[in-house]
């Protein structure tokens, strides 16, 4: 069955968020050291894997995966371990919001995939921020 236009758009949205996360974790990792740097590296790798997986899914569906931007504007300067952690949490929140879009498509498998991916990124956001939220991914 051909994927709907909405499903492809949602997958592209998730891919764009993963591209941003891969870029952002490069910035995060650059100012961290020790365990935190190792955590950032692990998350960076996980986002690369997710990016590759989404690109493969889109290709299988006959779509051209969106490319990463050459650069991204950071939401705030990252000059310390604290701001690096805040950026990591912000990146994860962005990824969670993007996967929420997949949950709205009609394909049950994509819904489940989106919801599970939200859980992964919400947990990473909690690990970086030290706090939980009632509605990860939902507009405030």
């Amino acid at each position: 069955m051909a994927a709907s236009r909405a499903a492809i758009a949602a997958l592209q949205g998730a891919l764009a968020a993963e591209h941003a996360a891969v870029y952002g974790y490069g910035v995060v990792g650059a100012v961290l050291a020790g365990t935190a740097e190792a955590d950032a590296r692990a998350d960076w790798t996980a986002h690369q894997v997710a990016r590759d997986s989404l690109e493969a899914m889109l290709t299988r569906l006959g779509a051209t995966p969106v490319a990463a931007s050459p650069a991204y504007r950071l939401p705030f300067p990252v000059t310390s371990a604290k701001s690096a952690g805040q950026l990591a949490a912000a990146l994860e929140n962005g990824v969670t919001r993007a996967y929420l879009g997949l949950v709205a498509v009609s394909d049950p498998a994509l819904r489940s995939f989106g919801a599970l991916s939200m859980q992964t990124s919400a947990n990473r956001a909690t690990a970086w921020s030290g706090a939980t939220v009632a509605f990860p991914g939902m507009p405030a």
Binding site: T96, L100, V103, A104, V105, S106, P108, R111, S112, G114, A115, L116, M118, Q119, A122, N123, A125, T126, A127, A131, T132, V133, A134, F135, P136, G137, M138
Partner: protein, 158 residues
């Protein structure tokens, strides 16, 4: 205007009888989606009840558990707000499961973790039959509950 008379009264009664069953019939059927939503409301009530019992039994856990309970209360509010049909549908307000709280603080935390894990699984099972908007709410609540599992895991040390 039709005035009641020995001849018109039977007709009036007959017409009333025709309308009668509509008034006396069972309430409008609840759609499967609303039924699921009502179950989700009850499940949140049950979770909040367990959290409250654990907090009452082990007050030292309040700093960890009260924020999680507050998030469940927010979930409950959003779920209740989505019950829009049939008009006049009564919202569940009763806890349906009152398990014994763990005999130790550690056991109570394990109990809460198990409840959160089960809740995540149940939310996931609700996705397929839900409207896009409700599916997103269930998914977001599931993500929140999965972070609760992590918080409880860290506290348990497992």
């Amino acid at each position: 205007m039709l005035a009641a008379s020995p001849t018109t009264l039977p007709l009036f009664l007959a017409l009333s009888a025709c309308r009668g069953p509509a008034v006396l019939s069972a309430p409008p059927a609840v759609s499967p989606q609303t039924q699921t939503l009502l179950h989700a409301v009850t499940a949140e009530l049950n979770l909040i009840w367990v959290y409250s019992k654990v907090i009452a039994a082990y007050s030292g856990l309040t700093p960890v558990l009260a924020p999680l309970r507050a998030e469940h209360e927010a979930h409950l509010g959003q779920l209740r707000a989505r019950v829009t049909e049939p008009p006049g549908q009564r919202l569940p307000g009763t806890v349906t499961a009152r398990p014994e709280v763990g005999a130790t603080q550690a056991a109570a935390l394990v109990q809460l973790r198990a409840a959160e894990q089960a809740a995540v699984k149940t939310q996931m099972s609700r996705l397929a039959g839900a409207s896009p908007s409700l599916a997103q709410l269930y998914a977001s609540i599931a993500a929140s509950e999965s972070t609760h599992v992590s918080v409880l895991n860290a506290r348990i040390g497992g």
